[in-house]
């Protein structure tokens, strides 16, 4: 198996593409079977990404290209960049990689998208099989909170069912226009799990400025599409894991009242906004000062809900005009009786440790690792800043110094691990391909 990776950085997308693709193609020595091309969001224009991805298809000689735009990208052999691209190319007889497919309007039709994706899976017991997909990320209109305030004031208190009904209509319309959260990805995971898909890794493209994010499939560029493929092999096996920084647990709390679409009305039986500030122990003014640049999302204080003997981390957006808190909790979890959550304070060191934990879990039953793909939350990129490279060094320590991998800093991390859906935030998910270790009794 030949695997080549490269990260290049330049103000011109053409120059960044040229450097990356020349190096990768040079290393592969021939036409790769499959390429992941990830670009940073600073180039903005769809036309620029279109030209770049066409160039990659032309130079590499394959249409089996998948990718998207992210705030940051990295590969094992270079520092992460916020102004450039990362490419991983794979050529292998050991691994079968399906031609990537795309499904437009995934925000409005996640079930249909999942059905199309399902047809790519072989469900062959003799083979190890792993899906990999990318989706659009959270994307909000500028006045989204103001709109929510009106609904919260008039409907949410006394007419909860009506709010949920109106909320559904709003979500659908937002989806049609390319706005909304990434809840659709949770539906995709569940649908595929029910159909028998065992392993799947996914991530959401995102622009932190909420301007534009794109997904690539072949030489086509999409704005609201799921793009995906499957890897399968008779010889190789896949290691798959996920983690988040749970080293500093502070207080626990109860979500006592909530609405669909992840809007939490009360925490510990108090208005959620006020209770949230009480729990994290800082005043409303200070919170606003600290987090208004981050869309009021408390990246340093990550909440995680207890669900199926696990903690599922979610982002809380605590906007001053709302009485409640907007969260990234999927409806599937909120519809259960689960309501206990914990706060975990995020730190640079904790993030590095969780990346090591994730990578270490992935490789514990594998040897001769060929390559890795990591979906790492862009919020972790913001928390770590220029220390983000240490996270990739932790991954290398776990999976091997020479193992090539690509890291995409995403707007949502998704996995199916042994048919268990994991839809999470501020976390790292990853897969590696390698040979199974012989078990000695």
């Amino acid at each position: 198996m030949q695997v080549a990776t490269r990260t290049s950085s330049h103000r011109s997308i053409h120059q960044a593409t040229k450097t990356a693709i020349n190096d990768v193609i040079g290393d592969i020595n021939g036409t790769p079977d499959y390429l992941i091309a990830a670009y940073t969001t600073n180039y903005k224009e769809r036309k620029k990404y279109q030209q770049a991805i066409s160039k990659i298809c032309e130079e590499s000689g394959t249409q089996n290209v998948m990718g998207g735009t992210f705030p940051g990208v990295a590969t094992s052999d270079d520092l992460p960049t916020t102004q450039g691209c990362s490419v991983i190319a794979i050529k292998s007889n050991e691994l079968e990689i399906k031609t990537p497919f795309s499904f437009s309007n995934i925000r409005t039709n996640p079930r249909k998208g999942a059905k199309k994706y399902e047809s790519l899976f072989e469900f062959d017991d003799k083979k190890s099989e792993m899906g990999f997909f990318l989706t659009p990320g959270p994307f909000y209109q500028q006045n989204a909170f103001e709109q929510l305030k009106i609904l919260d004031t008039f409907f949410a208190r006394k007419f909860k069912r009506m709010f949920n009904f109106i909320g559904d209509i709003i979500n659908k319309n937002m989806g049609k226009n390319g706005f909304g959260p990434t809840i659709f990805a949770d539906t995709v995971l569940n649908e595929l799990a029910q159909k028998g898909v065992k392993s799947l890794l996914g991530g959401a493209t995102i622009d932190l400025d909420m301007e534009s994010c794109f997904q690539f499939c072949g030489d086509k560029i999409y704005r609201n599409a799921l793009v995906g493929t499957t890897f399968s092999s008779e010889k190789l096996h896949f290691g798959h894991s996920w983690a988040f920084d749970k080293s500093q647990k502070s207080k626990d709390f109860g979500i006592t009242d909530f609405l669909k679409s992840g809007y939490v009305q009360s925490i510990n039986k108090k208005p959620a906004n006020k209770a949230f500030h009480d729990i994290i122990g800082i005043s409303e003014d200070l919170y606003e000062e600290a987090f208004k640049k981050f869309s009021y999302a408390s990246l340093l204080y990550l909440s995680a809900i207890e669900y199926a003997k696990d903690h599922i981390p979610f982002v809380s957006v605590c906007h001053p005009i709302l009485d409640g808190v907007v969260t990234t909790l999927p409806e599937r979890i909120m519809n259960t009786n689960t309501s206990n959550a914990d706060f975990f304070t995020q730190s640079g060191t904790g993030i590095q440790k969780s990346a090591f934990e994730c990578a270490n879990n992935m490789v514990k039953n594998l040897k001769n690792i060929r390559f890795g793909i990591f979906i790492n939350c862009s919020n972790r990129l913001l928390i770590a800043g220029d220390k983000i490279q240490k996270e990739n060094e932790s991954i290398k320590e776990a999976i091997g110094e020479e193992v090539p991998f690509i890291t995409l800093y995403s707007g949502g991390e998704f996995s199916l691990i042994n048919r268990k859906p994991i839809y999470s935030s501020v976390s790292v998910h990853g897969i590696v391909a390698g040979e199974k270790k012989n078990v000695v009794f």
């Binding site: 520092l79 992460p80 916020t82 400025d209 640049k293 990129l381 913001l382 220029d386």
Partner: protein, 119 residues
Amino acid sequence: MSSNQGISSELMDLIDLEDVEAAILFRIDGNVVESYFGERYSQELLRTIQWCKANVEKVSLEMKTNNLNKVTYELNDFCVMFFVVNKVSILTAVATENINLSLLSIEAKRKSQIISSFL
């Protein structure tokens, strides 16, 4: 590519980032090795750059004494980030207050390492 061209290219990359107004490579004695500016000049920006030039020696001494890789100041509605390139050079990025400092620091670190290889 010559080292001068290489350094210029890296600084031009930096000012191409949204909200970055100036990228300057200083020697620690305050002399400018190379500099690039965005299109929007203002009195405040010039005053901030003047402050950088006047204080880079003091800042680099502080960084060296305390083993700091980067320091950030906020003044005149701008953020100023100093990044150590090598023993005698400091990379300085001047950005508007809206800049995402985490993302800027990732790119500034990358640029400082590349510039270091040119010196």
